[in-house]
Amino acid sequence: MLELQVKQLFKYHIVLIAVIIAIIALSRVVGITLMKNDRFSQYMSPDTAVEFDKLLDSTSDMTLEECAEYIERKQTEAIINGEDKAVTEAITRYNTELQRCFAVRGYRNYSRYGKGIVSLNIPSDLKAAPEKYRDYAVPRVVNSDAFSRYIFLSSFSIMPIIVMLITAVLSADGLEKGVFKQTNISAEAKAFYRAKEIMTVVFICIIYIADQLSVMLLSGVFERPEYRTSSVQGIVGLGTSAFRGTISQVIMWVFIRGLLSMLLCYNIFELIAKALSSLKKYIIVCTSLTALLSVSAAYMPALSPYMFCGITKISDVLYDLDYVKSLDASEGLIVIISMCSLLGGLFVWRRENNIT
């Protein structure tokens, strides 16, 4: 049954697949164009980035103090030798990132020992809620440009529209035509719906993974080995984020959260398709829901991780994640657990009630 459905997907819905690829490609082109036109971006020039990476390579095994000493030396050499703009920019940038690492370490030390602040950029809740900062890992200097690009590109997602399109073609259309009435009274109805569910979920997952991989490739996060070990607090704007983990783990969290939200989106759209049995109403309701959640996410950042939206300010989501005392972890974990529970419940309920 699965084999037949996949065969018929490629035979009869090849246009759907082509349109989806085209829409995603177009959305990423628009995303890259917006990124390049972002007046507030502080990405390094390619030459500066090369010099910066050399500094990273040289200081990969050093402590923060050793890094400070090294960069101080480099600064002096640059002045004496009259190094070019790329080198001096790289050194300045490195120093800025280094100071941020010191600052984060300072928050941790203050929360543990009552002293240690080294920066003027102090979190307002450091005194009131020190437990949030107690277990911060000391960040390392990283080339944060790739991550910044990743966050920017991840903020725009056409996936809810893609899921709506897939569910429209594979479910809502059949429900409107009444073809599933015949299926429901067939001997292999359960097998059919199981195969259809597997095929659709796998299809959505493949599209999502391809989209996310393209974002990761375009932003360059794969090329940054230091992301695997350095904590996310080293990234500008996330110095006080409750998320405890490396930058790679953050990227993985964003990926998993996005995948779960797309599967939630799929389940909800399937329920809507079944309830309405009308393609036109289905599109109206799903578009309204996506628009509503996109707008709500902008003004209710605490709930935005659970929403499937066209626009999700990932940096705001990461920044607003709270610290959960009872779990001694960031709210990120709760988000994943909650979404998994919700998803599991929806899949089981739909299967139990033959809502397919």
Binding site: V19, I23, V30, T33, L34, N37, L64, E65, C67, A68, E69, I71, E72, N95, L98, Q99, F102, A103, G106, N109, Y110, G114, K115, G116, I117, V118, S119, L120, I122, S124, L126, K127, I161, L165, A168, V169, D173, L279, K280, I283, I284, T287, S288, A291, V295, A298, Y299, M300
Partner: protein
């Protein structure tokens, strides 16, 4: 929009308390600015003190640990406690107030400076005809504006009005509404086959299509009007009815607008601008719905004209600024300054050009839809 108010203007009570404590006129502005700068300076003093400590005690690039007393002072001053607001909050509020009052306090001065500039140019014998025409037009208008402002010495809380203008200039909700109302206006009829039955009636395809287009445009107009005036009602309820009689030059960023109208009149102007833009999009969406013939393709295709203004407003491509403003219905850009386009050496109000352009596009879209509907064999 209410949520955007809340997110932009955190503590309403604090703002009201600070705003009411200020005098009228320039004194009030100066006091707000002074307070903002003083608090900023106080914060800066503490932060400078800390900065000096860091500079003098640094070991190379390794920053020193700040003494506890200094840290406690920073916490107390900047962040306050649960009972009282910290200086950073007051500083933010006074900063916002001074920004609000700037337009109200200095609009007249700025306009007078500009008109003097025009007079100076004329006296110097500028020969460029277009410049002379602009100068003449602006001076007339600015004179009326000054007369209007003469009668207004009140102080206004323009937060909600400013937010309303900013919101309406870039809101996507009207476009989403157009999409939901109209994407299936023809595609549903074509896909279901009902269109074939309508074609065979006395009204015929063209008659039916024209009714449908008219109804669709009316639906869009009603929807947009209800939505727009609901938002405006929220502004009136928040700011009071007197905000309508405020000169529009009191809005932040509109100090040099040449339009001699009050805020209520400006709201009407932008209502008609946005309404005509919405109706143009409606006609375009209905045409695309007819071309698509099926519900799912029309759902995808009709998103394009609705997403295009938002995308164009964010992408930096080389495009004439006036053209960009019109294509994206940039209310602020088209109204906050001279707002004229050079057409054949004469300055023409950009809003007039905008109206003509959108109406023409709307009419062309509707005509194209009607021609398509009348073609033999269409709908197969």
């Amino acid at each position: 929009m209410i949520a955007s108010f809340k997110s932009a203007y955190g503590d309403d009570k604090l703002y009201a308390a600070c705003f009411d404590s200020l005098d009228e006129g320039e004194e009030g502005y100066n006091a707000a600015r002074y307070n903002s700068e003083k608090l900023s300076a106080e914060d800066k003093e503490i932060l400078d003190k800390a900065d000096r400590y860091i500079s003098t005690h640094s070991n190379g690039s390794v920053p020193p640990i700040l003494p506890n007393e200094m840290v406690d002072e920073i916490f107390e001053t900047l962040f306050g406690d649960s009972e009282t607001a910290g200086s950073s909050q007051y500083q933010a509020v006074y900063g916002l107030i001074s920004k609000q009052l700037y337009s109200q306090t200095f609009s007249r001065e700025l306009i007078k400076e500009r008109t003097e500039g025009y007079s100076r140019n004329i006296r110097r014998g500028v020969t460029d005809e277009y410049s002379l025409k602009i100068a003449e037009l602006m001076m007339d208008d600015y004179e009326k504006v000054l007369e209007k402002e003469e009668n207004h010495r009140e102080r206004y809380d323009t937060r909600y009005a400013n937010n309303f203008i900013g919101f309406i200039s870039s809101e996507p909700i009207s476009y989403i509404g157009i999409f939901l109302l109209l994407f299936s206006s023809f595609s549903a009829e074509l896909q279901s086959g009902r269109y074939k039955a309508f074609k065979l009636t006395k009204t015929g395809a063209v008659g039916y299509s024209s009714y449908r287009i008219i109804i669709g445009i009316l639906q869009a107009a009603v929807f947009f009007s209800v939505y727009f005036f609901a938002l405006y009602t929220a502004v009136i309820l928040s700011s009071g009815t007197k905000i309508s009689s405020m000169p529009m030059q009191y809005l932040s960023g509109f100090e040099l607008s040449h339009l001699p109208i009050n805020f209520g009149g400006f709201v009407l102007r932008i209502y008609f601008m946005k309404l005509s833009f919405t109706l143009m999009l409606s006609a375009a969406v209905m045409l695309l719905s007819m071309v698509s013939r099926r519900i799912i393709p029309s759902a995808i295709v009709c998103l394009i004209p609705l997403a295009a203004p938002a995308a164009l407003s964010r992408i930096d491509i080389s495009l004439n600024e006036n053209l960009r403003q019109m294509m994206t219905c940039d209310i602020i850009g088209m109204n906050n300054d001279i707002g004229a386009i050079n057409i054949g050496g004469s300055p023409i109000d950009v809003a007039a050009v905008f109206f003509i352009a959108v109406i023409m596009i709307a009419v062309c879209s509707a005509a194209a839809a009607l021609i398509l509907s009348g073609r033999r064999g269409f709908d197969a």
